[in-house]
């Protein structure tokens, strides 16, 4: 077990080293201006670039990215960049967590309804699948506009709540599908058994269907967590909310020609966010480990 654990960590480290190695290898050997096919003379930006540029403004060295983390955020005596990244990541993580929770509640409710009634499954499932095709960037401003409307006419509606709602839009999908599959997962013998006890719907749900759904739900919750982070970052950018890591990413990317290593800091920050979100769900899984036991074959 511990040997296997070390092996897993080892492969993880090797994976990161391979990415860094490839980056630096291409930077050292690739052409500084990249390779462009079909460029027309005198027209800037024409043609198709098939290999990226390798000069320092396009591809900073990995060590420059790391050094930049410890330099002041925007010159002078501003706090080091990593601290700004952590603060922004914290904001986004909080919003993503709210979005995740909304997504889990909505997804679980949809899964329950669809499992209860075949008609509801036929009516809802196509729309649920279809909902994920709508591009988030088109959808986010609509949510923001509705949020502003509510803020003006009904009740206070902070902008971060709109971001959370948009994040939940991506998070609910795997939960709904996982819940539907999980609730249908019990062994037919177990269903017969509960019927022989004349157990009602709620009793069967609580004692059989929900516990049996856990192995299907855990991956769905993990996926939902990763989706919630992604959704929160994209939503921040597309509705222009300040303070989060998505906004920071866009801002620093805009200044990349003068400070090329800086946008990488929030990039690493968002990767860390995704890992933290998925890791938190893995901790939930440890608490539910009895529900993942298999019955040994007789």
């Amino acid at each position: 077990m511990t040997a296997a654990r070390w092996l897993a960590v080892g492969w993880g480290v090797i994976g990161i080293l391979v990415v860094i190695g490839s980056w630096e290898l291409y930077k050292a050997t690739g052409p500084a201006e990249g390779v462009v096919v079909g460029a027309v003379d005198g027209e800037t930006g024409s043609g198709v670039m098939i290999l990226p540029r390798t000069h320092d403004r396009a591809m900073p060295h990995v060590w420059d990215m790391i050094v930049r983390l410890f330099a002041p955020t925007s010159g002078g005596d501003t706090p080091p960049l990593w601290m700004s990244v952590v603060a922004a990541a914290g904001v986004t993580l909080g919003i993503a967590a709210v979005g995740w929770m909304i997504g889990v509640i909505v997804g679980a409710a949809l899964g329950l309804i669809m499992q209860r009634s075949r008609l509801a499954e036929w009516g809802l499932l196509p729309w649920i699948v279809l909902s994920q095709i709508v591009p988030l960037i088109a959808f986010a401003p609509v949510v923001n506009a509705i949020g502003n409307q509510i803020d003006r006419d009904v009740m206070p509606w902070p902008q971060w709540l709109s971001v959370a709602v948009i994040a939940s839009y991506l998070a609910f999908f795997p939960v709904a599908v996982g819940m539907l599959r999980g609730l249908a997962a019990p062994d037919p013998i177990h269903v017969d058994l509960m019927r022989s006890y004349s157990a009602g719907y709620w009793s069967t749900l609580w004692r059989l269907r929900l516990p049996a759904a856990v192995p299907h739900l855990l991956p769905a919750l993990r996926l939902a967590a990763a989706n919630a982070v992604l959704g929160a970052v994209v939503a921040e950018v597309s509705i222009g909310m300040r303070g989060g890591i998505g906004r920071m990413l866009i801002q620093l990317a805009g200044q990349a020609s003068s400070d090329p290593a800086a946008p990488w800091a929030p990039t690493f920050g968002s990767i860390a966010l995704g890992l933290i979100a998925a890791g938190t769900v893995a901790v939930i899984g440890v608490g539910l480990k009895n529900y993942r036991r298999g019955e040994a074959a007789a």
Binding site: D187, I189, D192, S196, S198, A199, S203, N290, R293, A298
Partner: protein
């Protein structure tokens, strides 16, 4: 019929039972014209080749399916009312334990569903784990038990609500011969001790004879009762019975009843 006093209602009374499954193409007659009476406290086995409808008959008695014709009464009630009243306990070929519950929690499941209090439940679970000899394993999970032990938990669970009727669908079918014979002796003792009637589905002639007061031999296409063989072996079944001439005689009688039917593929497995 057998020795039960006329005042006790029959555990099972089936008259003209038929079951037809409608499939896309045509109807499949799983059972036709089944007449069977099981007295209170009586041990009756259903035996026959695959497709003879013995499991279907058990599912009808359990109200897990409804007959398409005939009348069926469990202790004088409709199967549905008998199920709601918890008149029977049931066990299947697979133990069917909930893997996330301990042995004790699995046995307590039917009591929990019926809202019995914790102290009562715990006391009953203690009794039952003693009865099936698993008192040291109450906090184990099913995946930590052997197949035979899992099946004993399933039997304890079937007995939890003190049913007057036990329905068992090949409960020992997946076990090795040694464990199987051992559990047969145990089950025979438990049935005598609790006074419950048992309807026991099996593929094994020796098992049916060893356990039963009467063996119901069924034949397929359409599923029906071919013959009912009484065993006359009396109470208190033990290992010595397996060596006795009377036992061999009944095994032969059941085998002949099975092969004597007009069935091409009748065999003792």
């Amino acid at each position: 019929m057998s020795v039960s006093p006329p005042t006790t209602p029959l555990a099972v009374r089936a008259a003209g039972i038929g079951k037809t499954f409608s499939t896309a193409g045509d109807d499949v007659h799983a059972l036709t014209g089944v007449d069977l009476e099981v007295a209170a406290g009586e041990f009756v086995s259903l035996i026959g080749p695959s497709g003879c409808g013995k499991s279907t008959l058990m599912r009808l008695i359990a109200d897990l399916d409804t007959p398409t014709e005939g009348t069926l009464e469990i202790f004088g009630k409709t199967p549905e009312r008998a199920r709601v009243a918890q008149d029977y306990g049931i066990a299947f070929q697979q133990a069917g334990l909930l893997p996330w519950r301990t042995v004790a929690a699995n046995i307590a499941l039917p009591l929990e569903v019926h809202g019995q209090g914790r102290t009562e439940r715990d006391a009953r679970v203690r009794e039952l784990t003693h009865l099936v000899g698993l008192q040291e394993f109450t906090e184990r999970y099913p995946d930590e038990l052997s197949g035979g032990m899992q099946q004993r938990v399933a039997i304890a669970r079937a007995l939890a609500a003190r049913p007057k009727l036990l329905l068992m669908d090949e409960p020992f079918g997946a076990l090795d011969e040694m464990t199987r014979e051992y559990l047969q002796v145990e089950l025979s003792g438990i049935a005598a001790e609790t006074g419950a009637a048992v309807v026991f589905v099996t593929h094994s002639i020796p098992e049916a004879v060893f356990l039963s007061d009467r063996v119901v031999v069924m034949s397929p296409r359409p599923g029906r009762i071919a013959e009912i063989v009484p065993t006359h072996l009396g109470g208190g079944r033990d290992e010595a019975l397996r060596e006795s001439p009377a036992y061999f005689d009944r095994v032969t009688a059941v085998r002949e009843a099975l092969h004597g039917t007009r069935v091409e593929r009748a065999n003792e497995r």
